[in-house]
Symmetry: C2
């Protein structure tokens, strides 16, 4: 059997602890599968004395991960620190620069520095694996980087944030408001005390930026993403979606269009009978439209210590099965130096269906005016639902809800029509506009 693969783990939170458990419980099986044992020889964490249920006696302990990356006798540097900047960045860069492989679960780091790090890995003939950075334990990076090599990808989209999907699922199931479901998610540990990063779509955007690069062979462009979170989604929207045969999911979507590549994160109507509409709770899902294969869909646990550790372990095993001097496939699917610049498609050029919910005064002429603005902007309607508003249900007929579902149209037209409607002065509430996405399956 070949000599052991020596790994150093930076960050001993829930993921690190779960990874250490796997490596210990499955030690012999992993050695059999990989042709050599895998040994943790170094770890870094802030506090050496904390009990993490891991025996650290034979392991070199560092308080500084960069120092571990620079000097520990390791083959693989496993970065579980998090954060887009230092020390994670310096540590991974140092490890790769001296010919150590690296495995990371850090989407923020890669969204910011992924191309640079991929280039360093490729110059040094080592791997930078990051399956855990997107959709947790779902092997979407491997599928895109390896399995779909023969395909051109036209669209990739997914439920990439478990917090948001949990909240939307609970709103629908229990008829509760966003705020109530957020509180419940916080109580259960699915949402942070400050939930902004999850519910406003930033976390989804980081993951989407990586999928976009893999899908289209472009440089990572995490700042060029259209962003809309779920905090404005009301129970009225969810009910109206249900009536019309849709569910609302926060999707990250990257799509090739004639004018460039769209990257967008927003609440999205998906048909109820699509596979992705059934993905509930904290589960994640990714769908990939590939020219030769067709649509590939994957779903599974997208977060949590164990799911993340499962993906990190797969990445380490891939390295363990390779041998020093072996040539590796490119980190981002295509060599970093050959990645195309990212050409952003303007959001106003986006084409698709739209759900528009308007609260209007219940008086003569309002409906005719709505219809005229739609027609003026060349928007053709798939369905129109009109019902009494919140007050109307109590016999007070001065409010009405109008829901319009459009056929495929241009975002620019929808914005113009909604602006024109707003300026007519009979809207009693902020208009709600939700994009529709149609999976192939």
């Amino acid at each position: 059997m070949a000599p052991a693969l020596k790994i150093g783990i930076a960050g001993l939170g829930t993921v690190g602890a779960s990874l250490a458990r796997i490596l210990s419980n499955r030690h012999n099986k992993l050695a059999d599968i990989c042709g050599r044992p895998i040994e943790i020889v170094a770890v870094s964490a802030r506090d050496a004395s904390k009990d993490r249920g891991i025996d650290l006696s034979a392991i070199q302990f560092y308080t500084n991960p960069v120092e571990m990356a620079e000097s520990a006798d390791i083959d693989v540097f496993v970065e579980l620190i998090g954060g887009q900047g230092d020390p994670a960045f310096s540590a991974v860069r140092s490890a790769l620069s001296r010919g150590c492989h690296a495995v990371t679960a850090n989407k923020a780091l890669l969204a910011r520095h992924g191309v640079e790090l991929a280039g360093i890995a490729e110059e040094n003939g080592v791997l930078l694996n990051f399956e855990a950075a997107v959709a947790g334990g779902i092997p979407v990076i491997k599928a895109m980087r390896e399995s779909l090599t023969g395909n051109s990808i036209s669209r990739v989209f997914g439920i990439l944030n478990g917090t948001c999907n949990y909240i939307l699922t609970e709103m629908e199931r229990n008829g509760l408001s966003f705020e109530d479901c957020l509180k419940e998610a916080q109580r259960l540990g699915y949402a942070e005390a400050d939930p902004t990063f999850d519910v406003e779509g930033n976390d989804t955007a980081h993951k989407l930026a990586l999928l976009t690069s893999l899908a289209f062979g472009t440089q990572i462009a995490a700042d060029d993403i259209y962003l809309e979170g779920i905090s404005n989604i009301s129970i009225e929207d969810i009910r109206a979606a249900d009536d019309l045969g849709f569910r609302i999911k926060l999707l990250g979507v990257a799509q090739k269009t004639e004018s460039g590549i769209e990257q967008r994160v927003h609440p999205t109507m998906v048909p109820k009978n699509s596979v992705i509409a059934q993905v509930d709770g904290v589960t994640n899902a990714v769908a990939i439209d590939a020219d030769v294969l067709g649509e590939l869909m994957m779903s599974g646990p997208g977060a949590g210590g164990d799911a993340t550790a499962s993906a990190v372990m797969g990445d380490i095993a891939d390295i363990a099965k390779s041998r020093p001097g072996h040539q590796h496939g490119p980190v981002l699917g295509r060599p970093a130096v050959h990645l195309d610049p990212y050409a952003r498609a303007r959001m106003r050029s986006h084409e698709g269906g739209y759900f528009i919910r308007l609260t209007v005064e219940d008086k003569a002429g309002v409906f005719a005016s709505l219809a005229k603005h739609m027609s003026d902007n060349d928007i053709s309607l798939e369905s129109i639902v009109q019902r009494p508003g919140k007050n109307g249900a109590n016999g007070n007929g001065d409010k009405k809800t109008v829901i319009l579902v459009t056929h495929a149209t241009m975002e620019d037209s929808v914005r113009k029509a909604v602006e024109a409607i707003s300026s007519d002065g009979y809207l009693l509430d902020k208009p709600q506009v939700i994009r529709i996405e149609r999976p192939d399956s």
Copy 2:
């Protein structure tokens, strides 16, 4: 750039032609990704003169695939001939024995000779890749062989035959009989003139045998599979399933139990709100229950020239990214010489829920007798539905349909109860028993 990877393709049907197209259309991109060009240098087919839309002028042509495997100047032998025996078997064996990598889409061959061929590949330090052999373009082999290395798997199940799933979907959608939907599937090219192999579950069984080996590290046991096809499923079953919140799918299921490993292929009730229940038409799906990760679900095109070629291409690209002398991971997830013998669990020991549909005489005492037989066999019931039978709807009250859904119980108990009910003499039709499977998602 490294020298070209030279491949020989045996079999130039739709898959081979699609593969040749990909290799030609994406030639430069593939070279960039893999670090070397991939060239078709040899092909074998029965008829050299047939026009397949591929330029064969610079390619060595063989009419005998075994001769090509033995003597062509190739790095990779791509077997697209099909069939569990020769010439496919001899050809792949010869190629591996002389140190050529092999890629195959042939589930029948691997279900029969997979362990022997894996052993030969491992002895010779080459790869035997077979992503296309199970669920077409869905990267389930890679997920199980590589991504889930850190997990113990307790169950794997899936919709592995597009023909059956198409027929069941159409029966439900259009309220048609099995026979009518089969005819339509044949007309559309989704079913063979002799559909036995698909509709009776043999094709699913071959694929399941490979998943079982990967999931549990056991030798392939394609003959030890409990088999029940879909030809006995009636529109009444589908309607009753729908009423009770289920859909019927032909599943292949492999499951670890206390008494061994179950391998079973049968029509299965899955809850309507599960992700797999939404997988319609010819689409395939596989779900994997893994201890660290949780449940991973993948769905996509499971057959057809392009989907198969996409998977074959991914397998070839993996080889192209490796270099001569590189150590590879084991073919079946664990080295062939270390695979455990397959220990079959008796079907009578299977535990799960059951749907039982009985057509009985509409007379006093019948229901009490049913209930007694259930109780005598310790079967507890989740739901009981009783409705007029076929004649009853016309006012003729002599027939009644009784549907029982059990809580988790033992197959042996269900069989005994149904036998006892049958021997009471008031059944007017063959009893229908369909197992229930509950996915985690």
